[in-house]
């Protein structure tokens, strides 16, 4: 196709049909206009030696014959794809006689920016203004004469879908081609090339002089955005939404949790116990370890499913981006760059990828500040423990307690970042963030369920992987005797390696009100992964039961008794202190490894030291103050 395209003769001298190209950004109505002009004469095919499709047509208008090309859409004259490269190459050819620049009136600034670049090619240009009907509906009114004057080009309004204006365009095309033939168009003085800043200023002046916006009344979406992103109402709405999510999750999930718990303890466990009754060590491993630990975590499947569904609903509705604008302000308060929001949001899912995501920040000091603050974001694994503990101790107010832990987490991130910025890591530069607000929409069932499933699947993988491994490791430590005359796998937990470690650590928590070895042991194993805290509790209490059996639903009663005892009757204060310790101390070894990889061992260990110190100090302070109040 288009054998004449490689000709290089001047159009005034060549005995060929003039070549006209339709050029514009993608989706400006270029191909519709091409169809209208070319009618039945158009041909579609790949451009020679490329896989890029180009439309062409040989047509006769007002007895004037010319060849017209429908070139692939282009955003600028710096091509970013093979399609754009082809358009660029054709525009650079000498045998191109006339450019019809398509300008979408509803997206006029971007189109005029491309037009300023086309003008620098020093080729004759006619402007076809499309989508003017849509622009008018949006309150954008283009003064075509003023635009033509400002551009020093002919501008014709065309509405290709309704054929309006195509005759006018054809008339201008033939007139311009006739002027070309008779050398009436002076191309001896090409315009001076502009830099991008000058081009934008030119387009801005052009828009100021030729475009009026009458739709100054904010849309409903604008008004909602204004409310949801305002400094006070935005923060209050975000807090309210979070509270509703946690309260609904804990309330709705409770019956399903009880049902799964009864299946595990009533249907699955008894027959396995019967089979393993003759091999106590295997029963200890399978029933007291795997079933007790993993089974307790599996009761959280409904909790996670409901919460992920609610978060997916918020995401798909467009609210999450508004929440990000509100959070961005909090980041700035801490002196963090707007982009710090990206890893911190990831951190509320899992801290490990959040540490890696600090690479999005270009300033090394910012990366370090954010990377060391990420462990204070309450990851999903901690959420399982929050819900478990809050459900046992606070019943109907569990959602509020969980919500409170998220507020504590966000506060810790902000204060710790501020502390680092003012003390250890000074002098970081600003890095702004512009957040694109997607339109509000009704969430789609497919997206919401698919997104929630992706996350639930991650929870199940974790339970089936690292949790099982940790449960087996704890069982092994509980089976190894370190005092007394006991055999492997037949050791009282008091005299096992695990018991020695847990009891050695327990005194540290005396001042925090939870100096019980079951809890201290669970916090140690929590270094592996936070959800392991629950499975460890289940395993510890199961092994420690007189008949070495524990019904999962009894775990709450035993925990309540021990917290009551260790806190001398101030169990609420001790539990809050425990939850704050859980929020503040090192999330898991995988996070430490990620920090070591990103910032080196020294900073990773510094971070751990800070986390442990802050966690302990806060837990002690909360318990000591709380015991006076409660």
């Amino acid at each position: 196709m288009c054998s004449s395209c490689n000709q290089t003769e001047s159009p005034a001298t060549a005995l060929r049909a003039p070549l006209v190209a339709l050029v514009g950004r993608p989706n400006v109505g270029k191909s519709t206009l091409f169809s209208r002009i070319s009618g039945i004469h158009r041909k579609m095919g790949n451009w020679p030696a490329t896989t890029v499709e180009v439309g062409s047509a040989d047509i006769v208008v007002n007895e004037e014959e010319f060849r017209i090309l429908d070139l692939p859409g282009i955003s600028s004259l710096s091509p970013a794809s093979p399609d754009e490269k082809l358009t660029y190459d054709i525009l650079m050819q000498d045998n191109l006689d006339l450019i019809v620049a398509i300008v979408d009136a509803s997206n006029i600034a971007r189109c005029l920016h491309l037009l300023t670049q086309l003008k620098e090619l020093n080729k004759p240009i006619v402007v076809a203004l499309t989508m003017n009907d849509i622009a008018r509906k949006r309150g954008i009114h283009v003064d075509i004469e003023a635009l033509s004057r400002g551009l020093d080009l002919s501008v014709v309004e065309v509405l290709p879908r309704s054929r309006n204006g195509t005759a006018g365009l054809e008339k201008i095309l033939t007139q311009t081609l006739a002027q070309l033939k008779s050398h009436e168009i002076d191309r001896s003085a090409p315009p001076l090339p502009l830099d991008d800043d000058q081009r934008i200023s030119f387009v801005n002046d052009l828009i100021m002089s030729s475009v009026a916006r009458t739709s100054t009344r904010p849309t409903l979406s604008d008004r909602v955005d204004r409310f949801l992103t305002a400094p006070i109402s935005g923060v209050l709405t975000l807090l309210g939404v979070l509270w509703i999510v946690f309260q609904s999750t804990t309330t709705l999930a409770s019956p399903f949790q009880n049902w799964i718990s009864s299946i595990i303890s009533g249907v699955i466990t008894p027959p396995i116990e019967d089979v393993l009754i003759s091999t106590p060590w295997l029963k200890g491993l399978i029933v007291d370890g795997v079933i007790s630990g993993v089974g307790t975590l599996l009761t959280f499947l409904p909790v996670m499913s409901i919460m992920f569904l609610l978060l997916s609903l918020l995401e798909d509705s467009g609210y999450m981006a508004r929440a990000a604008v509100v959070s961005d302000r909090l980041m700035r308060f801490a002196g963090l760059p707007g982009k710090a929001l990206l890893p911190l949001i990831v951190g509320f899912g899992c801290n490990v990828p959040a540490v890696s995501a600090t690479r999005a920040l270009s300033d090394a000091r910012h990366r370090l500040i954010v990377g060391l603050s990420v462990p204070f974001t309450a990851c999903s694994a901690r959420l399982a423990v929050y819900i478990f503990v809050a459900g046992i101790f606070f019943g109907g107010n569990a959602g509020t307690v969980v919500f409170g832990m998220y507020v504590v987490s966000i506060t810790l991130v902000i204060l710790f970042s501020l502390f680092l910025r003012l003390t250890l890591i000074k002098g970081a530069t600003r890095e702004p963030l512009l957040i694109e607000l997607p339109p509000y929409r009704l969430p789609t069932t497919t997206f919401v369920f698919a997104d929630a499933w992706l996350r639930v699947r991650g929870f199940l993988k974790e339970v089936g992987g690292i949790v099982v491994i940790t449960v087996v490791a704890i069982w092994f430590l509980m089976a190894v005797p370190i005092s007394g005359d006991h055999q492997f796998a037949n050791t009282p937990v008091n005299e096992s390696a695990y018991g020695a470690i847990a009891k050695g650590i327990t005194p540290i928590f005396v001042l925090a009100g939870f100096d019980d070895w079951h809890t201290a042991g669970a916090l140690v194993t929590g270094f592996v992964a936070k959800e392991v805290v629950i499975s460890s509790w289940a395993q510890n209490y199961s092994v420690d039961s007189p008949n070495r059996q524990l019904i999962i639903s009894d775990l709450g009663i035993k925990l309540k008794q021990d917290f009551e005892r260790s806190s001398s009757g101030h169990s609420s204060a001790a539990v809050i202190a425990f939850l704050i310790f859980l929020t503040s101390y090192t999330p898991c070894v995988a996070t430490i490894a990620a920090q070591r990889r990103e910032f080196g061992l020294k900073w990773a260990l510094t971070g751990v030291a800070f986390q442990l110190a802050i966690a302990w100090l806060l837990a002690v302070a909360v318990f000591q103050i709380g015991r006076l109040l409660v």
Binding site: I200, G349, V352, P353, L434, G458, K461, E462
Partner: protein, 71 residues
Amino acid sequence: MSTPRNLVLAAYASGASTRREIVEVTLLDPGIVDLIVDTMIHSGEMNRYVLQKDCEFGGCRGCPLSEECAP
């Protein structure tokens, strides 16, 4: 000199974080603000990231999107 681009950069610096806020601060046409953001992304002065709400349990191990996580 206060070019439109400088106005947008100043709006950033003063805390505007959405297109609407920048338009309100600079009084520029919204299309011009979009154009300036486009050109800054094109020139590498700004980067575009997808805002993820969170990640799966267990870090990157089980995540099919892990390669896109950290730029």
